[in-house]
């Protein structure tokens, strides 16, 4: 019993160590030559450009919901004028980075885990090693760099389109005057809010790529292994996004 518990704890510690080591190795290789901008650009296209439509869609609806709910709540206190600030601060500080990261994890991260997992299953990763090409440097490092570049850009797009979504509902449908909507934003939003949001999205970029690459890279070499890796990648990414969001929020406030 105690032996089993000990083995379980040891296994967990080893697994956690491997997980952290994986990121460290990928980051170190990202800084070592040969540099392959071509691979990074390809990943930016897959993570960033191909997720753009989804981000626009989700951003618009999130902004609209915030506009609607914000208006309903604020109008009870007669402070509809604060709607712009409520929508913008909610988006920039919390919802923009978090929802963008979760959407990319679900869309690009799952595909990434499945791709790496099936490359592992069909010995393509071994083939890279045998050809004297480091598979982590070739497959993982470019994806982490691409995540760091893409996430803040997509988050910014999400925020902007969300603010317009809130405008459409709050000003267009509910009839709040448009002057206070924008004045509320420019008057209440500080550089600190924007930095906080962007820092979060940078961190989420690393976390999502790290988790999804790790899960795919270490998938069991069979079809069920690949499907399990894909599911675990999305679930673990989402959990880590929300956990880090809270931690970062409480540290940086």
């Amino acid at each position: 019993m105690i032996e089993r518990l000990g083995a379980l704890i040891l296994d967990s510690v080893f697994a956690l160590g491997n997980f952290v080591l994986f990121l460290i190795i990928a980051v170190v290789y990202a800084l070592l030559p040969p540099f392959k901008p071509r691979l990074i650009i390809r990943q930016i296209r897959l993570i960033g450009a191909d997720s753009l439509f989804l981000i626009l869609l989700i951003g618009t609806f999130t902004g609209m919901v915030l506009g609607l709910q914000g208006y309903n709540t604020l109008s009870r206190f007669g402070s509809e004028g604060a709607l712009g600030a409520v929508v913008a601060l909610g988006l920039v500080r919390e919802l923009g980075p978090v929802l963008t990261a979760i959407m990319i994890a679900a869309r690009a991260g799952s595909a990434m885990a499945a791709e790496l997992g099936s490359m592992q299953a069909t010995e393509q990763v071994d083939a890279l090693t045998v050809m004297a090409i480091n598979p982590v440097q070739y497959l993982v490092s470019p994806r982490i760099i691409a995540g760091i570049i893409s996430f803040p850009i997509l988050t910014t797009i999400f925020d902007v389109i969300g603010i317009w979504g809130g405008y459409v509902v709050g000003v267009g449908l509910m009839g709040t005057p448009s002057g206070p909507y924008f004045n509320g934003i420019s008057g209440n939003m500080t550089g600190h809010d924007i930095t906080l949001g962007l820092n979060k999205s940078l961190l989420f970029g690393v976390v999502v790529m790290w988790v999804c690459c790790y899960k795919g890279y270490h998938a069991e070499r069979m079809a069920t292994g690949v499907s399990r890796a894909t599911t675990e990648a999305v679930v673990l990414s989402s959990i880590m996004i929300l956990a880090w969001d809270y931690l970062l929020g409480s540290i940086l406030l």
Partner: protein, 263 residues
């Protein structure tokens, strides 16, 4: 780290001595002694689970042994640092069981890959080398196809071209005919023989196509229980009256897998 080559190859392309490897409590390699001579095809056969694939993964440096020695082209590789292994890896080409072609790339890009990544050849030189190698494996004109558009046999040929394109000295093949019908199996066997002769390669072949594969082999190593139980020229091995080998052979020839496996 690696002694300069003086132009002449040692008599053994690969020399394995007392190689041991365990996974947990399972002892998979129990002291392998094996010679892969230069310029010959050596075929490793044996019942499933005897450690053939694990042995090959040690020869191509994907796994590291617990103890024992592997000399590749005269260089002891078991204690080399990770960065020094790449220089050894460039000496060999590997054909994986399922081909392991990159499915996001065309046949041309797959075959060009080792040259693009590891050499400073110009695009024109790379293209010439790729066309030549694809021609040698009978895939001329297939450059723009994707792996998913090729039949199983053609995928093996493309993977063979990728393994050969950087002109290795040693070719390793992991069950190159798995999943192919008898006609295609014979065609791939012929191709392996021809390329080995044309490129003057030392080849290691793990195969379960017993006894067909013996027609193209120079030497045979029969593995059993994590050891090389029997090795020598095809004639020597076929002529031996070793009981385990005979039962393995009989099980294979009658198509009765169980008799072969249940040794």
């Amino acid at each position: 780290m690696i002694p300069p080559s003086n132009g002449s190859s040692p008599p053994e392309a690969i020399e394995v001595r007392d190689l041991r490897r365990s996974f947990g409590r399972q002892h998979v390699l129990n002291g392998i002694d094996l010679d892969i001579p230069t310029g010959k095809i050596t075929t490793i056969v044996g019942p499933s689970g005897c450690g053939k694939t694990v042995l090959l993964k040690h020869l191509n440096l994907l796994l590291r042994p617990d103890s024992g020695s592997i000399k590749i082209d005269g260089v002891e590789v078991t204690r080399l640092a990770a960065y020094a292994l790449d220089a050894v890896r460039e000496k060999f080409g590997m054909l994986f069981q399922a081909g392991a072609l990159f499915d996001s790339m065309s046949v041309f890009d797959n075959v060009a890959f080792p040259l693009v990544e590891k050499t400073r050849l110009s695009r024109a030189e790379i293209a010439a080398r790729v066309h030549e190698t694809l021609g040698a494996v009978g895939l001329a004109g297939m450059e723009n196809k994707f792996p998913s558009e090729l039949s199983g046999g053609m995928q093996k040929r493309a993977a063979l071209a990728r393994a050969l394109v950087h002109r290795p000295k040693i070719l390793m093949l992991d069950e190159p005919t798995t999943g192919l019908d008898p006609t295609r199996t014979a065609a791939i066997h012929d191709l392996v023989r021809r390329t080995q002769q044309n490129f003057n390669l030392s080849a290691v072949l793990v195969s379960h196509d017993v006894p067909q594969v013996f027609t193209i082999s120079d030497r045979v190593a029969f593995m059993y229980g994590g050891k090389v139980h029997l090795q020598g020229t095809v004639a020597e091995v076929m002529g031996s009256d070793d009981d385990k080998f005979k039962r393995f052979l009989a099980g294979r020839a009658s198509g009765d897998e169980e008799a072969g496996e249940a040794l």
